[in-house]
Amino acid sequence: MLLIKCPWCGTRDESEFSYGGEADIARPATPDTLTDAEWADYLFMRKNPRGLHREQWVHAHGCRRWFVLERDTVTYRFSATREPG
């Protein structure tokens, strides 16, 4: 079980949270001008790195707020946690 630090509530058990995947994926500002390849990249392609990963979590069974974490995907150690935006 991971121990996850919610920026608002502090450190809690992983089972209080839901995982939201890779962070920083912005919906394209001009969808009607996008090529199929650009859509594919936005919808499906992921970094999936072995190492540092910026990712989104939501404190589903707590304050219910989203935040961004940086985690090492091999050691599972969190190195930074911050509010979204």
Partner: protein
Amino acid sequence: MNKQKYSIFALLRNAVSYNENWRQAWRSPEPKKKYDVIIVGGGGHGLATAYYLAREHGIRNVAVLEKGWIGGGNTGRNTTIVRSNYLWTEAALLYEKSLKLWEGLSQELNYNVMFSQRGVYNLGHSLQDMRDIERRVGANRLNGIDAEVVTPGQIKAAIPIINISPKARYPISGASLQRRGGVARHDAVAWGFARAADALGVDIIQQCEVTGLNRQADRVTGVETSRGRITADKIGVVVAGHASVLAAMAGLRFPLESHPLQAYVSEPLKPILDTVVMSNGVHGYISQSDKGELVIGAGVDAYTGYGQRGSFHTIEHAMQAIIELFPLFSRVRMLRQWGGIVDVSPDACPIIGKTPVQGLYFNCGWGTGGFKATPGSGWVFAHTIARDNPHELNAAFGLERFTSGALIDEHGAAAVAH
């Protein structure tokens, strides 16, 4: 090259010489400077690819590069369920090709892969589950795949220890049954393909990690490895959970996320469960190994990760599901727990084919359910590499489908990890 044939006579002959004269099953050669084809990843899929390249296409100057030991990835960590009852025609035909190869595999490889067609039950727990099951069974039959719908009474008759009480938290409403499905011995699959490929001249090189893919303009030229540079005309990458890492070496982005997936075995019991039971509803799957252990699989951990372990609370979920179906297992003790890293794709189907880089081929995205596909995956991937063109069985599984939108949604048939 190894020409020693395994048979009852070989067993007897070696028994009288105190088993001191068995030869190595495959060589451990030094890597050559150049190969026609390099396969990255010595799991079942990579070894099968090398075998069929040599066997079906006469391409024998082939190396399989494995960073650890062969079969040490998901091949040696899975719960070994084999079946072909997928919903969509593209997927069903691919998995059925594999099942047909399984049926002759021990003879073909002269290696007992202990394929046991003991049947696979996929349980339904609601009216909607049963409608989905009937639809899938109907689709399977149209594709020539054996499939039946069975009632709770029929399930109970076949598996007396299962709980079909309507008072259960998730009562069993019925199941699909594929009698030709079953289990196989995971290590033996890797070893059997390795031995047979080696006998045809394939170099199996363990402890050799690929650290870079070399290319000239838009064509691959070879690999950098922990044992030096090796050149090759064609490179097939079959590294399961590490596919995104290898793709990044070629500057490519793939639609994959790697998740930890766990499994467990119990202390050995006397024979008590002679078939395979899976349930999407309570999310559990179980069979009994020849050693008597209950083999139990979990769901993937929610987060992405390359640590081969997984979260503690997942163990509780997996056990809850099994106790729900088999209350009498509540006092069985678990012996071992481990994790693999599965490469999950958006439509729960594999990605097998060419890439934008000439001579570079990927076979990945099998996620939680690729063991059953080991021979078929190797068979179509060898074809794809040898002809520089996919076989009709894997033509629909290219990377292009994420741009064209022609996804093959197998979340229903593949929802429970297996």
